[in-house]
């Protein structure tokens, strides 16, 4: 009987701690959402906690009136999709041959790739390279320098290695070449890990800020994060088009910033729960040493 009671108490505390931790992850976002939807007077009176007070969509309207913001959203979406496709293609092309033990030079290439995980030229030589390649202030400077993640490559390679050889052998007997085997046999069997790695690449690009800060000065090519940085952290204010508008007087900078945060977060929140079951398995594959 005593054991049962202590078990109940134990369960209670476990649930309590988990709930508090989980809410701590969610509530800051809820507060920012509430701020973005609250009226100026409510924010000024410090009445906003986790529910909007005197709900208004003014800050979102002000945000959406800024054409450069819409363009930035479109540009970043295209950038993320294009980058993810390229990165996945290159990662697959590298990971598959490197699983073949018969391939001459395989170990040298693997070593060359792994070495880059521990040593790099650093920010300045990479910047000078981009300058010499003439890709500064072009989309390419946001796509090419990080086109393959060595970590993702190793994860994919160890997944490919875990597939049974017999399937590939029978395909080869049927007259398939290596590329055919890759596309017809290996990739269809690898959907979970491909989904995981695509998510990592896509979220990484959607959230990336440093490359744009270094390589992009042309405001037409500002990805969302750089634009947000200038609005939120640097307080450079939203585009002049909003300043011209009378509505701006009804919108507090706080609530506008909150709207920006929500604006950039929504796409991620929409995508990631659907992929959760994949990335957990993906991480586990990655934790197996390849």
């Amino acid at each position: 009987m005593g054991a049962k009671v202590s078990n109940k108490i134990f369960d209670f505390f476990i649930i309590l701690i988990t709930s508090i931790s989980a809410l701590l992850c969610l509530l800051p976002l809820v507060n920012v959402l509430a701020t973005s939807l609250s009226s100026t007077s409510a924010i000024l009176a410090s009445k906003v906690y986790f529910l909007p007070v005197e709900t208004t969509f003014e800050s979102y309207k002000a945000l959406l009136r800024d054409n450069s913001m819409i363009w930035s959203l479109v540009f970043t979406t295209l950038l993320t999709v294009g980058y993810t496709a390229l990165a996945m293609l290159l990662t697959i092309c590298a990971a598959y041959p490197l699983t073949k033990k018969r391939l001459k030079g395989r170990n040298a290439i693997l070593l060359m790739i792994i070495f880059t995980m521990y040593f790099s030229g650093g920010i300045i030589p990479e910047y000078i390279l981009a300058k010499n390649l003439n890709i500064i202030n072009t989309v390419w400077s946001l796509v090419l320098p990080g086109a393959i993640s060595a970590y993702n490559l190793i994860v994919l390679k160890s997944f490919f290695t875990s597939l049974p050889d017999s399937l590939e052998e029978s395909a080869i007997l049927d007259g398939c070449n290596d590329i055919g085997v890759l596309f017809r046999i290996v990739l269809p069997l690898s959907k979970p890990v491909l989904a995981t790695l695509s998510l990592f690449y896509a979220v990484g690009k959607w959230n990336s800020f440093m490359d744009a800060l270094f390589y992009i000065t042309d405001s037409k090519l500002y990805p969302l994060q750089l634009k947000l940085y200038q609005i939120i952290v640097n307080s450079q204010g939203i585009d002049a088009s909003i300043g011209e508008n009378n509505m701006s007087q009804n919108v507090l900078p706080e609530s506008l910033e909150a709207a920006c945060v929500i604006f950039a977060t929504v796409p991620i929140i929409l995508v990631y729960p659907w992929l959760q079951k994949y990335f957990v398995t993906g991480i586990m594959v990655g934790s197996v040493k390849g």
């Binding site: 649930i15 590298a94 030589p125």
Partner: protein, 318 residues
């Protein structure tokens, strides 16, 4: 020696023992074809910049090719080591990473153990989904949230602190409170994600161990202490080693975005220093020297900690 062996060895002399590289190139041509672009990527975007570190030893002029710039030896390093800003950035890097290690490292372990004890499957899933979420938010977004929530006057925390009858706390504008905020936000962002790997390790534990312990009358805390923790010891050690190995490496986004002018003494780290000196003041050789110094220190830390792991009987990273 018997006859059969002689015959075999004679036959072998007629077949070329070692095939030329061209043979393998032809046999595996499709595989090499696939590798062309990825290998080109690593050569151009990873290895060319490694050659670029010679800039640290040159009087580099952006209008001249690297190889035409005159050598200046270790002058750039000497200048770096003379500046106070560099030592401050180095100290801050170790301080902030040290705090992350001390306070941030145990968080995912504790979280994984707690989550593992949950009985309800759906509750487990829902709370995990929420705990992973911060990992997917960019530092710009987190920075925006932090500014909002910790803002004086209207911020959530300030509202709560004041309604409890306390004075406002300068979370973002004074040194030590800023360090606390920086560390706490780091834990907030990483703990949930970091827990995945420990959950995987816990899932791999043989359930018979728990059943046997239960039969022996061990309570749940006892089982955590005597089974769960020892079984994930290897994972904990390897991740700890990995983190110690990276203690001199610091990301750019987090200190850059959370930092501000009033806490510069604590928020300026190596990566932000390199950005400031290199890209904003165009002192390429100085910034490259700092970057190279950091890379080498990092490599030393990683090698030494890996060596210690292997020596202590655990399996290191290589």
């Amino acid at each position: 020696m018997d006859k059969a062996n002689v015959v075999v060895s004679k036959a072998q002399t007629f077949i070329p023992q070692k095939k030329g590289f061209m043979y393998y190139l032809k046999r595996d041509k499709y595989l090499y074809l696939l590798l062309i672009f990825p290998v080109a990527y690593f050569v151009i975007f990873k290895y060319l910049p490694m050659y670029g570190v010679v800039i640290a030893f040159k009087e580099y002029n952006i209008f001249l090719p690297v190889w035409e710039s005159p050598w200046i030896g270790f002058d750039a390093f000497k200048e770096v080591f003379r500046t106070n800003d560099f030592w401050r950035a180095l100290r801050n890097t170790f301080m902030l990473n040290g705090l992350d290690l001390l306070l941030g490292f145990p968080a995912p372990i504790i979280l994984a153990i707690i989550i593992n004890e949950l009985r309800s499957k759906w509750f487990k899933r829902v709370s995990q989904t929420m705990l992973y979420l911060p990992h997917f938010l960019s530092w710009v977004i987190i920075g925006g949230m932090v500014l909002q929530i910790f803002a004086p006057n209207f911020g959530l925390i300030d509202n709560i602190v004041k309604s409890l009858g306390f004075e406002s706390i300068p979370f973002l504008t004074e040194k030590w409170p800023w360090v606390a905020t920086y560390t706490a936000v780091g834990i907030w962002q990483n703990a949930g994600w970091g827990m995945i790997i420990y959950l995987a390790a816990i899932a791999g534990i043989n359930s018979e161990l728990y059943e046997a312990a239960e039969v022996d009358g061990a309570g749940r805390l006892r089982r955590i202490w005597n089974i769960t923790l020892p079984c994930i010891r290897g994972t904990i050690i390897i991740l700890f080693i990995l983190n110690i190995g990276r203690i001199s490496m610091i990301g750019f986004d987090r200190p850059f975005i959370l930092g501000n002018a009033s806490v510069k003494d604590f928020s300026d780290v190596i990566s932000t220093y390199v950005y400031r000196v290199g890209l904003q003041s165009s002192r390429y050789n100085i910034a490259t020297a700092v970057g190279l110094f950091q890379s080498l220190v990092g490599l030393v830390f990683l090698t030494v900690s890996n060596y210690i792991t292997n020596k202590s009987g655990e399996e290191g990273i290589w």
